[in-house]
C-alpha cells in the first residue's frame, strides 16, 4: 500500500523531477534504493536519514519487486540508485544488468554494497564497472593485525582501516579521525584502469579468504592490493561507489566504538558515518563537480570572436569554471588550469590565471604555423569531474597583401626598376627626336 502511495505521489512530481537533474543542477535528487529486506531500512536508517536530510528523495523498494523500473516513457525516473541487495540474483520489474549499466552510461550515479555471498548479479555489475570481487563466494577480508578490537575475539574479519585516499574532494576537508569499520569481501582493481580509485584499502597484512576453512593455498588477494571501498568516475562523469560490505552502512557500525588492534586510542564512534556521508556527497555530485562555460577568445584589443586567426596574432582566451556545492555553482579556484593551443601537438601551453571569481584567462601569440588549431582545456584532477573543452579555430597564413611592402634593404632595387622606367621614357623621347 505504501508503495502505491509513493508511486501516486510521485506521478504529479514527475514533470518537475525529470528536469531536476541537469547540467545546471547536477546533484542526484531522486534515488531508488533496492533492498534485500525492508528491515535494512531501519537498520541502516542513519545513512538514509543523512541522505534525506540533504534533500534526497529516497524510494525504497524490494529488489525483487515486480513493479520497479528505472525509466518510463524514455525518461529516467531516478537520478541515483543504491543497491543494498547483495544477495539478489534477479531484480524484479524491468531492471537487469543491462538496464543498470545503461543507467550509469546515461550519467546517473550508483552505490553498490556487496557482502559475503554476494550474488553473481552484483558481482557482474561491479565487474562491468571495473571492480573485481574475490571470486570465492565465502571469502571475507581477514586482517590479523589491524582488526577492530571487540569484545569477542572473533575471526578478525571486522577490520578497522584508516587507509583512506588522500583527497579533500572525495572525503571532505575535515580529517576522519576514527578508523572505519569494515566487514565484508575485498576486491581488486586493475591498475591500468584509470577510472577506478581505491578509497579505502586494506592494510598490508590483510588477505581475503574463507575464515571458516583452513588456508590451504595462498589467498588470491592480499595486502594493500585489496580494496575495501572503491569509487568509479565514468567518462561521462557518472559516479559509482562500490563497497565490499553492506554492514559498514549500518547504524550498528556507525554507532559502535572502535579501537584498532595495537592502537592505544579508543574512539567513541567509528569513522563510518563521516566517511560514508562524505563519500555519498561525492557520489551524488555534491562535491567535485565542475562545469566550464563561456569559452571566449578574441584578438587582443578586440571584443568579437573571429572565425579565423592569422599567424602571429595576439589573442586572449578566457573560460569560466564553477564547482557545484550541492546547492549552487561556486567559483572554482585553482592555479593549475592550463590551455593548449593544439594541432596534432600542443603549440602553446599556458597556465590560466584566475580572478578567484571563476573566470580564467590568459593571452598568447598564435604560433607561426597555419592549420586548424584547437583551444583545449583538459582538466583532470583527482576527484573532480573531468573537464575537456575543445574549440576549433583555423589559423591562416598571411594574406598576400599583409606582407611588408617596402623593405629598406630593397630600395636599390626599387630605384633600379624606376630608373629603368624613366630611362625608358627618356630613351623613347631621344629615339623619336633623333630621327
Amino acid at each position: 500500500m505504501s508503495k502505491l502511495l509513493i508511486f501516486l505521489t510521485l506521478i504529479p512530481l514527475l514533470p518537475i523531477l525529470t528536469t531536476s537533474f541537469s547540467l545546471e543542477n547536477p546533484s542526484s535528487r531522486r534515488v531508488l534504493v533496492l533492498l534485500d529486506d525492508l528491515a535494512l531500512k531501519s537498520s541502516h536508517s542513519v545513512f538514509f536519514n543523512s541522505l534525506q536530510s540533504r534533500g534526497f528523495d529516497l524510494d525504497f523498494k524490494l529488489a525483487d519487486d515486480p513493479k520497479i523500473g528505472l525509466h518510463r516513457y524514455g525518461q529516467y525516473l531516478y537520478d541515483g540508485l543504491i543497491l543494498f541487495c547483495p544477495t539478489t540474483e534477479r531484480f524484479g520489474g524491468s531492471i537487469d544488468l543491462a538496464a543498470i549499466l545503461e543507467f550509469v552510461d546515461s550519467g546517473h550515479d550508483l552505490i553498490i554494497a556487496a557482502d559475503s555471498n554476494a550474488s553473481d548479479l552484483i558481482r557482474e555489475i561491479a565487474t562491468e564497472s571495473g571492480v573485481d570481487f574475490d571470486e570465492d563466494p565465502a571469502a571475507l577480508v581477514i586482517d590479523h593485525s589491524s582488526y577492530a578490537v571487540s569484545n569477542t575475539e572473533g575471526d578478525h574479519t571486522l577490520i578497522a582501516s584508516d587507509e583512506y585516499i588522500k583527497s579533500d574532494v572525495i572525503l571532505g576537508s575535515k580529517k576522519i579521525e576514527a578508523p572505519v569499520l569494515f566487514q565484508g569481501i575485498g576486491h581488486s582493481l586493475n591498475p591500468s584502469n584509470s577510472l577506478v580509485l581505491k578509497v579505502l584499502s586494506a592494510s598490508p597484512s590483510a588477505y581475503s579468504s574463507n575464515p571458516k576453512s583452513k588456508l590451504s593455498n595462498p589467498p588470491s588477494l592480499t595486502g594493500s592490493a585489496i580494496s575495501l571501498v572503491s569509487i568509479v568516475q565514468a567518462r561521462n562523469n557518472a559516479r559509482i561507489l562500490i563497497s565490499g560490505s553492506l554492514s559498514m552502512f549500518s547504524n550498528r557500525f556507525f554507532r559502535s566504538e572502535v579501537q584498532k588492534a595495537g592502537s592505544p586510542t579508543k574512539h567513541e564512534k567509528s569513522g563510518n558515518e563521516q566517511f560514508l556521508t562524505e563519500l555519498s556527497k561525492w557520489v551524488f555530485h555534491e562535491r567535485g563537480h565542475l562545469k566550464a562555460m563561456n569559452v571566449r577568445h578574441h584578438k587582443a584589443g578586440e571584443a568579437d570572436e573571429p572565425t579565423i586567426y592569422r599567424v602571429n596574432d595576439d589573442l586572449e582566451y578566457s573560460v569560466e569554471i564553477y564547482e557545484w556545492s550541492g546547492a549552487s555553482w561556486e567559483p572554482y579556484v585553482a592555479d593549475d588550469v592550463q590551455v593548449q593551443f593544439y594541432m596534432m601537438s600542443p603549440y602553446v601551453l599556458k597556465n590560466l590565471s584566475t580572478d578567484k571569481k571563476g573566470s580564467y584567462f590568459t593571452a598568447f601569440k598564435v604560433p607561426d604555423v597555419y592549420g586548424v588549431f584547437q583551444f583545449k582545456v583538459e582538466y583532470q584532477r583527482l576527484g573532480y569531474t573531468s573537464l575537456s573543452l575543445s574549440k576549433q579555430i583555423p589559423v591562416r597564413p598571411f594574406k598576400h597583401n599583409e606582407y611588408e611592402r617596402f623593405i629598406p634593404a630593397a630600395y636599390p632595387y626599387y630605384g633600379a626598376a624606376f630608373s629603368m622606367m624613366t630611362g625608358f621614357f627618356i630613351f623613347t623621347a631621344v629615339h623619336l627626336y633623333s630621327k
Binding site: 564497472s129 582493481l189 577510472l195 592480499t222 567518462r235 591562416r396 597564413p397
Partner: protein, 778 residues
Amino acid sequence: MAASETSNGTALRYAFGNVLSFFILLLIGVLAFSIRLFSVIKYESVIHEFDPYFNYRVTQYLTKNGIYDFWNWFDDRTWYPLGRVIGGTVYPGLTLTAGTLYWILNSLNIPLSVETVCVFTAPIFSAFASWATYLLTKEVKGAGAGLTAAVLLAMVPSYISRSVAGSYDNEAVAIFALIFTFFLYIKTLNTGSLFYATLNAIAYFYMVCSWGGYTFIINLIPMHVLLCIVTGRYSSRLYIAYAPLVVLGTLLASLVPVVGFNAVLTSEHFGSFLVFIIIHVVALVYYIKGILSPKMFKVAVTLVVSIGLVVCCAVIAVLVALVASSPTKGWSGRSLSLLDPTYASKYIPIIASVSEHQPPTWPSYFMDINVLAFLVPAGIIACFSPLSDASSFVVLYIVTSVYFSGVMVRLMLVLAPAACIMSGIALSASFDVFTRSIKFQLPGVKGNSQVDAGDTSSEGVVAQNEVAKTYKNEEALKERPSKKNRKKEKEHVEKPSVKAQIKKRLLVLPFEASIIAILLLVLLGAFYVVHSVWAAAEAYSAPSIVLTSYSHDGLHVFDDFREAYSWLSHNTEVDDKVASWWDYGYQTTAMANRTVIVDNNTWNNTHIATVGTAMSSPEKAAWEIFDSLDVKYVLVVFGGLVGYPSDDINKFLWMVRIGGGVFPHIKEPDYLRDGQYRIDSQATPTMLNCLMYKLSYYRFVETDGKAFDRVRRTEIGKKHFKLTHFEEVFTTHHWMVRIYKLKPQKNRIRGKAKKSRSKASSTTSTKRSETQRKNPWH
C-alpha cells in the same frame, strides 16, 4: 606569293579559299565541341572523376567570394588539421577561366550555374585548341596541313579522354595554352616581331597559370633554340623570339603563386637561362662578325674563346655547386621520374601509386592516337623537306613528347597535338600530291596544278614544296601498306630511287595509283573517325562518379558515390572529419562538404602515410590514430559485391607501401603470402586483421552466405567477425561505399574477471587461475 601571275581569278580563289577555310574551321570547332558531349547525353551533366571536383569547388569559391579572397583562400576543410593554402598551391588558370566565363555569361544575363560552366569549359577549350593547332600547323606547313591537323586534333582520343564535358581539369585548358604558345613562338620566329614575342610571353603566362606541364615549354623552346644555333641556323629573329620570352616569361611565371621563385630557383628552368646566355654570346659573335673583317674576327675569336672558356667553367662550377647542394638536386619528384622512369617507383610510392604516372603500354598508344601513330613518321619526313626553323621545332616537339609519353601515361596528352600536327602535315601533303598528279593527267587542267598547292600560302616555296610533297607522299604510302596491302609496298619501294632526280614531270604518279591511294587514305581517315567516335562515346565518357553496366536484364546504374556523399552531408555534423584514402578526398569536400584528412593534392606524404598506416593497422591501433586526428567517420570503397575493380582493397598495397615508407612497423611482406596479394583463406593474419580488410568485408557474408568477392574472384578468408572500435553507420545500395563511425571510448572500463553469466562455478576456476598469475607469491 606564288601566284604572281596576276589574275583576278587567283585573288578570287584565295578569297574563296579563305572563306571556305573559315567555315571549315567553324565546323571543326563544332565537331570538337560536340564530340565531347557524349558524356552529357549518355549520363548527365556532372563533373567527372576526382580532381575536377576540387577545381569545381575552387571555382564555386571564386565566383562567390571574388578573386582576392580566392587568392588568399586558406582552406580548413581539407588536410585536417594542417589545412591547405589553396590560393598559393593551385594552378589558377582553369579556375579563373571558368570564373571569367561565368561572369561574362551572367553579365550578359545568361544565368548558367557554375557547374554547367565548369562542365562545358573543356569542350569549349578543345575547340580553341583545334583552332590553335590550325594556326600552328599553318605556320609550319601551310593552311591545308593546318586544317587537316585541326580536324585530327578535334577528335584525337587521347585529348578527348581529358576534355569530355565534365572533365573539368587543368589539362583541358592547358593543351590549348600549350599549342597556342607554340604557335606564337613559331609566329615570332617567322616574323621576328616583338609584338608576337609579347603575346608569346603572355600565352606562356597563361600556360603557367594552367598546368605544371609548362616546364615542357620552357625546356622545349630552349632546346629548339640550341638546335638552331648548333645547326648554324641562328638568325636575329631567333633572338627576338627567345630572349624576350625568357625574361618576360620568367617574370610572369614568378607572379603565379604556386610557381613563385621556383621559376628561377629550380633546375627545370635552368636550361632556359643557360640557353639565354648562349644566345647572347652567339648574338654578339654574329654582330662582331658582321662589323669586322674576317681576319680580325679570327683574332677576336681566339681571344674571346680563351677568356670565355675560363668564365664558362667558373659559371658552370657555381651552378653545379648550387644545384648539388639541394637534396633532390633541385628537381621535383615528378620531373625526376620523367628523366629516370624508375625513379618514382623506387623512391616515391605516392607518385608511383597513381595509375596515370605509370609508363603506358603499347595498346594504349593505339587506343589513344590510333592511326596517327603510323602517320607520324611520314610527317617527320615531310618536315625535313625542306627543313625550316618552324618544322624543325615541330620535329623536336614530337620527338621529345614521344619520349615523355613513354614515361608517363598522363603525358600522352602532350604527344597527341604533336602527333596530330605531324599526321596533318603528312596527310595533306600526300593528298596534295595525289590530287595534283590526277589533275596533271586529266586533260585540260594541267595549268591549275599549282593553284591547289598555292592554297598552302607558304612563302615562295611552292615549287620546293611540291618536290618535297612527292617524297612525303611516298612515305605516307609506305606506311599504309604495312598494315593494308603488301602488294603496294613493293610498288613503292622502287620509287625512292626515282626521287633522286627531281623533275616536276617525273613526280607525277600514275593516275590509277593515285586514285587508289586517295581512296585508301580516305579509308584510313574514316577508320580514324570511327575509332575516335567510339572512344568518345564508349571509352572515355564515363564520369566514374556514376557507373553503368550492361547485363542480360538491361542497364544497371551504380550511383553509390553520390548516395554516400549525400548521406554524409545530411547525417553528419558540419565539423565532422571524414577519413578515407586520398582518392576520395576531393569528392568528399566538394560533394559532402565535410572536412577530410587527406585528399588528391598529395603534398604531405607523412599525412597520407598516417592514413595508410591506420588503414593497415589492426582495429585498436587504427582507432587511436584516427582519434588523434579527430576523425569521426571512416569511408571505404568496396567493389566486391558488384565487381568494381578500383576499390580500396585493390589500392590497399599502396596504402601499406606509403604507410610503411614513413612508419617502418608497417611491412609490406606481412600482407603478402609468398609474395602474393590475397584476401582468401590463404591470406596472412596481418592482412585479415587490418582495418581495411575488416571495414571492407564486415557483414559481407550476409549478402550471399559465402562471401564471394567478385573483384578478386575468391571467397574471403575471414567471414564472421565483429568490430569493436567502429560501427557501421551507412552502406550504399550496392555496397560500394561503406561508412563507419568511430565508437566513442567506453564509458566504463571493465574489470578483468570474465563474464560469468551462465555457470559461475566453472568460470570461477578459470578466473582463479587468471588472478593467480598476478600473485606475487608465485
